[in-house]
Amino acid sequence: MRSLLGWILVAVVALVVSVAATVGLNPYLQQILFYIAINSMLACSLNLVNGFCGQFSLGHAGFMAVGAYVSALISLNFHPFSGALEILNFPIYALLAGLCAAAAGFLVGMPSLRLRGDYLAIVTLGFGEIIRVVLLNLEVVGGARGLYGIPGTIDMASCFHAFFWAGATVLLLWRLIHSSYGRSFLSVREDEIAAECMGIDTTRTKVMAFVISSFFAGAAGSIFAHTTNSLNPASFQFVKSVDVVIMVVLGGMGSLTGSIIGAILVTILPEALRPLHELTGVDLRMVIYSLTLILLMILRPGGLLGSREWNQLWRRRAARS
């Protein structure tokens, strides 16, 4: 029953958003909505590693790229459903994309997470760049030209699909961090030596978090691919990874609610400032965007929500139970 309730909630939210989007919004705003779904998935999944597990991954764009390209390639060559049921292809693509990204996550995480400290940051940074350069030079995926004609439209069904995935990401991660496994993630973040002495296999724990995180990044990549209909290695530059880190830090490390808010803000802010550009003739967007971030970090160094979730907002200190 409890299990079902969560899924029903996710479905209802996705349905409401998708209906509202198709009825009330122009294509530009619809596109932004898709990016919010994608970025929420990225931010929440990265938060699992960076916020809950206390590691520092800088290569989320790499895993997203793996997912996006895998999904695009599969969709260009393989459609199990056609006609009216075409939309059912996309969950399959996203699932496969996620699994491939998770496999990549395992390969990257296994050696680097055995060590304590900042090695993961360096390795994942390298991984992100390697993926991009490989894609740039791989003729099968179009090299620098990228991939075109990837199936997918922006309509009610695809919007539902995107938001259902985003909701599922949040729901599943929420359940994960509120379990014994989630507590083991937190213990690794708090004190790795103490965790190890309490019988927590810290390497396994970190790899588990990293692989799960990569899975959702890959699924997000898949949704991205079918939203933009074209892929280009330039979409997965280092800056993209940094963007996701910003969402996580801005919202609060160790808060899924924060990550969603961070994702929404970072997606909307540059767009919301667009009229200013037209008004003044000078592109101040990035200046204001960075100033906002700096200010936020000065005023709320722990991120907007710290480590609190939506149900703990009124508490001054997060008393966990």
Binding site: R175, E190, D191, A194, E196, G199, I200, R320, S321
Partner: protein, 255 residues
């Protein structure tokens, strides 16, 4: 014999911190490990719990060699410790701290987590009940929801002991459990250590500088100095052992 150290040595570079240490701890024994600062007591703990690997020698627990096992594997065998400089999971609640050390016997998998299956609820409820029961023994159950790092020092020390107990140890290692406690707190701790040893059928090895505590509850005392065991025996023997007096106070000048 629960724990046996045989000729265990460790050196860091040229520095020999522990040299040919021999020590045995039997079932249900309460042993004290004492010695002047820098004698290698905490290093001995780190060796036993697998944080360091000995450069030579053999450590076995219940007949099984543990010198090459990882720290978490040794912990799962039942050797669990507390730390001299408290290492609680600071931002987690007291209850969560306890629950973490129950994780190794968590019976549900990720599928049960994601589907919130029946097993998930059963195990979680059981864990919580067990944790609260343990906290109650130490009269800490009213603090269950508090952030561990925000509590007073003495309370944090006790929580560390509860956390270790939650891992169902057979051998409990206490690194200066009374450090920073006043007389009445220490006295309370002494009776508590004896009580949990009986109730949980534990062997206990403790490092402590508070001689009243050590002499009061330990059946046997091992004295380390400069990485070597210089004396071993009952409290009375140790107090009258000239080498121990020498290690602590130095030798009287002959002239």
């Amino acid at each position: 014999m629960r724990l046996a150290l045989k000729d265990v040595s460790i050196q860091f570079g040229g520095l020999k911190v522990i040299e040919k240490m021999n020590m045995n701890i039997g079932d249900g024994e309460l042993v004290g490990l004492i010695g002047p600062n820098g004698a290698g007591k905490t290093t001995a703990f780190n060796l036993i719990t697998g944080i360091y690997r000995p450069t030579a020698g053999e450590i076995s627990f219940e007949g099984q060699s543990v010198a090459t096992l990882k720290a978490f594997e040794i912990s799962r065998l039942g050797v669990i410790r507390t730390f001299q400089n408290i290492r609680l999971f600071q931002t987690l609640s007291v209850l969560e701290n306890i629950l973490v050390s129950m994780h190794p016997r968590c019976a549900y998998g990720l599928t049960a987590v994601f589907s919130q299956g029946a097993k998930f609820k059963v195990v979680e409820d059981e864990f919580r009940a067990d944790a609260l029961k343990l906290l109650k023994i130490f009269k800490l159950d009213h603090l269950a929801a508090h952030e561990a790092g925000s509590l007073p020092y003495g309370v944090q020390r006790k929580i560390e002991i509860v956390r270790a107990l939650a891992g169902q140890p057979k051998l409990l290692l206490l690194d200066e459990p009374a450090a920073g406690m006043n007389h009445s707190e220490t006295a309370e701790l002494m009776s508590l250590i004896q009580k949990i040893r009986q109730d949980f059928k534990l062997s206990v090895l403790l490092i402590e500088h508070d001689m009243k505590l050590v002499m009061g509850i330990c059946e046997r005392i091992v004295v380390l100095d400069h990485g070597m065991v210089i004396a071993e025996g009952g409290p009375k023997e140790i107090q009258n052992n000239p080498r121990v007096v020498e290690a602590y106070l130095g030798v009287e000048d002959a002239t």
